[in-house]
């Protein structure tokens, strides 16, 4: 256990270091963009102004000193000021993170349920299994943003009540909470659908493989020999024993899902982390990029840590060796 925690901390420190240096390796600097439109350089800023601004953000110091300074202020809970938004990074991320989480969590949960259900259907009907397997193989090869664009053209453009972009209808006041939540739901519907389409196959394949594996075990035959009903065998034997790889996959998919969400948010102009990351990169907003990376890597690492914990705990309490 202690080993796992140490490993977790080390991994985090390596990622943290990368987070600091990689944005600074990009060509250009934040100030060439601050007063320009879509990245075109203008000559409006004098050398003296530039120096003042660099000094203000602490970017004039040597990179090592900047790194140490960043660590110490981060440890104090200060994640700096976004150069582009002119607000504290915590504030910017705090505004956007919930929207990304809405998409991610909905995607993961519905894909998990859908994938496992499809695997169960396939278990009972051989023909359906073939059909689902082929479809899932095809879908899993298409990138999320492409599905997003297709959904935009084929659904959002055709169906009136499904909006093209955004998270809530702007400037609208809602009579009640349900009405607000419905608006949120209808806006998130297409991004989530696009994400579910590419995430479900992952869970389906994992669940199917795991269930088929369990099906080969003697205890399933033994259960049949005990005269248990098919339903009992399916849930208490096959699903119970086969679900753990799926749950592990659930937490390990957080990373892939986050990556997909960041892309899909840009397709649907959904104001989540993806949107600010895109802008952060565009304007070389080092501080903001660092913040977004930090929160994402924390999410991914924590998820894998949880997956590990579940597996370990299970093995320990049930005396399973491998």
């Amino acid at each position: 256990m202690l080993k796992k925690i140490i490993l977790f901390i080390c991994t985090f420190m390596v990622i943290y270091t990368f987070n600091f240096f990689i944005p600074r390796l990009m060509p250009g600097d934040p100030f060439s963009y601050t007063s320009s439109v879509s990245g075109e350089d203008i000559d409006g800023i004098s050398e003296a102004d530039l120096e003042t601004m660099k000094a203000y953000y602490g970017l004039d110091r040597p990179i090592g000193a900047q790194f140490i300074n960043t660590i110490s202020s981060n440890l104090n809970g200060d994640f700096g000021q976004s150069i582009h938004y002119k607000k504290s990074v915590i504030e910017v991320i705090g505004e956007r993170l919930p929207w990304t989480l809405v998409i991610m969590i909905s995607t993961l949960v519905s894909s998990l349920l859908l994938g496992v259900s499809l695997a169960l259907v396939g278990l009972r009907r051989k023909k359906m299994d073939g059909l689902i397997y082929t479809t899932a193989t095809l879908l899993s090869e298409i990138p999320a943003f492409l599905i997003g664009i297709l959904l935009l053209f084929l659904v959002a453009a055709q169906v009136k009540f499904i909006p093209l972009s955004g998270n809530v209808t702007p400037f609208k006041s809602f009579a009640s909470w349900p009405a607000y939540w419905f608006d949120v739901f209808i806006h998130a519907l297409l991004p989530i659908t696009a994400m579910v389409i590419i995430t479900t196959p992952i869970f389906y394949f994992t669940a199917r493989g795991s269930f088929l594996n369990v099906l080969k075990k003697t205890y399933v035959l033994n259960a049949k020999g005990k005269g248990l009903s098919e339903k009992q065998i399916r849930y208490k034997y096959i699903v119970l024993n086969g679900i753990f790889p799926v749950i592990t996959r659930f937490f390990l998919s957080v990373g892939a899902c986050l990556g997909g969400t960041i892309l899909i948010e840009n397709v649907f102009a959904y104001p989540g982390l993806g949107k600010i990351l895109q802008e952060g990169v565009m304007y070389r907003d080092y501080v903001l990029i660092q913040g977004v990376f930090l929160i994402s890597s924390l999410m991914v690492l924590t998820a894998s840590f949880i997956a590990d914990l579940i597996n370990e705990g299970l093995k320990k309490t049930r005396g399973i060796n491998q």
Partner: protein, 568 residues
């Protein structure tokens, strides 16, 4: 009494090629049957076929009926009502036989609640655990937390939970220690006796079969080779395969050396013929094409055997043999048989006529009275000595049995040279092979050495090699090790036994060494000169016969004058 289960021409065909059966048998209530055989012979397949648990790529045909109700084509719903309640199968213990995520209590509850009211389930499962010698606390544990032996007991408890009429146990004691094993056997026998429950035990452990069942079936490659009452089958097996299994089983043969049945390449195993063809040492050419049917034995209606030759054939028979030297009867009323592929020892004190009898049986000495049959015909010793597949002898003293001035090569090749059946090249190869077989160097230098330069042990090996060139069906070895030191003796005996196991010839082993006879032979005859001969069933009992005692009267009168009496 009504037949409990009737299996009629049950056969299973796998797409991959394995075929089981057709197998027929019937069981009465309270009867215990064992199905024995090596791994992969189809024991577990038979069990699963009986309870309809085979996977879809197995095609089952035939008929299984439980108290008159046909089982094979029942719907899954009807099967659910039969399983555990009337017929139960306890799987072979492995780490995967129980659901690793459900506690043992939970898993036995699944069975019990099918029949018993919910509030009694807990009590009943605790009773069951106590019955098989487990602490009821294990019910809260998970399969991964128990030892193999505990799981095995738990599985047996599960199988009898709903008081079925027939329980099939697949290797029920494979992971148990001796003590627990005996406890389980006693429990099963008790249940069977008191409640009339029938048990089918699937095992490769003949000792378990002996202890647990009245009847036994021997399965080989999906074919039933022999069946009968367990005691009788184990006491006098009629099929070479059964005999091979017994010879390989330590539980049945506590002091005998263990030898497995020769493994051979399965390459030209005939598809149509006898399944045991490749490993059988008494096969005929017709066995290649003709698969034997299971037939009732001539003299024993409870015994069935599937062998084209009607079981193990008798090779050498002697009836009423007598021999006199002058007026003194040396041997009288000698009756004995040697079956194909067995080692029979002839033991007795010196001067009781062991060597005389071996020379008579070997055709080197005529007897005054009696008949000797070889393969059911009056023995024509001249032909048997000169032809292959006949009878050869290894004498006590290689110094006199071998021409000391011959080279090793000539000495071994001589019988074949006389036969004129080999070309010089094949002869050379044969001698080379046989030298390797008897553990002598096959180099040119050694072959050209004179026999007289060899050591005693080497000479005896040459002697054996010479006999084996004729591929005899029967080898008579007259005290072949009496001239050797302990280590050479052990080596030579193991060599002989090994060669016998490999080539399958029968051996009549004449010795005064009862311990040696007990180690290597399947049957032992004790010879008592003119009083006749006696087959020894339990050799440990005749150890007393060989125990010498000093008779004080014999030496007292001679020594008392010369030696001082010891001071008292």
């Amino acid at each position: 009494m009504e037949t409990l289960i009737n299996v009629n021409a049950l056969s299973v065909q796998y797409k991959e090629g394995f075929t089981l059966g057709p197998i027929s048998f019937a069981m009465q209530p309270g009867e215990c049957l064992s199905i024995v055989g090596e791994s992969g012979c189809g024991k577990s397949t038979l069990a699963k076929a009986m309870v309809n648990l085979l996977d879809h790529n197995a095609r089952v045909s035939g008929e299984v009926s439980l108290q008159g109700q046909s089982l094979l084509n029942l719907s899954p719903q009807k099967w659910e009502a039969i399983r555990m309640k009337r017929i139960a199968l306890a799987f072979q213990n492995s780490s995967e036989v129980l659901n690793p995520l459900l506690s043992l209590g939970e898993q036995i509850k699944e069975i019990l609640k099918k029949v018993f009211p919910k509030n009694s389930v807990k009590k009943r499962s605790e009773q069951l655990m106590e019955m098989v010698g487990l602490n009821p606390e294990v019910l809260t544990q998970f399969p991964g937390q128990l030892s193999g032996g505990m799981l095995q007991r738990y599985l047996i408890a599960c199988s009898i939970a709903l008081t079925p009429q027939l329980v099939i146990l697949d290797e029920p004691t494979s992971s148990l220690d001796m003590h627990t094993k005996n406890e389980i056997i006693a429990l099963i026998k008790d249940i069977s006796r008191n409640y009339g429950v029938s048990f089918i035990t699937i095992t490769h452990d003949l000792g378990l079969a002996r202890d647990i069942s009245e009847k036994v079936m021997v399965l080989y490659k999906g074919t039933l080779l022999e069946s009968g009452n367990t005691d009788e089958v184990l006491e006098s097996p009629r099929h070479p395969y059964t005999r091979g299994l017994i010879n390989a089983s330590m539980d049945i043969q506590p002091y005998r050396d263990i030898w497995g049945i020769q493994h051979v390449c399965e390459c030209d195993q005939p598809e149509m013929g006898c399944p045991f063809f490749r490993r059988c040492h008494q096969k005929l050419n017709s066995c290649r094409e003709h698969k034997p049917a299971l037939m009732i034995e001539k003299n024993d209606s409870s015994r069935r055997i599937a062998c084209n030759r009607g079981g193990i054939v008798t090779l050498l028979e002697g009836y009423d043999l007598c021999k006199k030297y002058g007026s003194k009867a040396v041997l009288g009323n000698i009756d004995l048989q040697v079956s194909s592929g067995e080692i029979v020892s002839l033991v007795g004190q010196s001067g009781m006529g062991k060597t005389t009898l071996s020379h008579i049986l070997g055709g080197f000495l005529a007897c005054d009275q009696g008949t000797i049959l070889f393969e059911n015909e009056v023995a024509d010793f001249k032909a048997l000595h000169q032809q292959k597949k006949g009878l050869q002898m290894v004498f006590q003293d290689p110094e006199t049995a071998l021409n000391q001035n011959m080279s090793v090569y000539n000495c071994i090749a001589e019988p074949l040279t006389l036969q004129k059946s080999e070309t010089p090249e094949t002869l050379w190869l044969k001698v080379e092979q046989i030298l390797t077989d008897v553990g002598l160097p096959s180099s040119l230098g050694f072959m050209n050495q004179k026999v007289k330069t060899l050591s005693g042990g080497q000479k005896q090996r040459v002697s054996i090699a010479r006999a084996l060139t004729m591929e005899p069906k029967l080898l008579i070895a007259d005290e072949p090790t009496s001239m050797l030191d302990a280590s050479s003796k052990a080596n030579l005996i193991r060599l002989l036994k090994g060669l016998q196991n490999k080539h399958g010839f029968s051996m009549l082993f004449v010795t005064h060494d009862i311990a040696c006879a007990m180690k290597i032979s399947e049957r032992i005859y004790l010879i008592k000169g003119d009083e006749g001969i006696q087959e020894v069933k339990d050799p440990t009992k005749i150890l007393d016969y060989f125990k010498g005692e000093a008779k004080p009267s014999s030496h007292a009168s001679y020594f008392q004058d010369t030696y001082h009496q010891p001071a008292v």
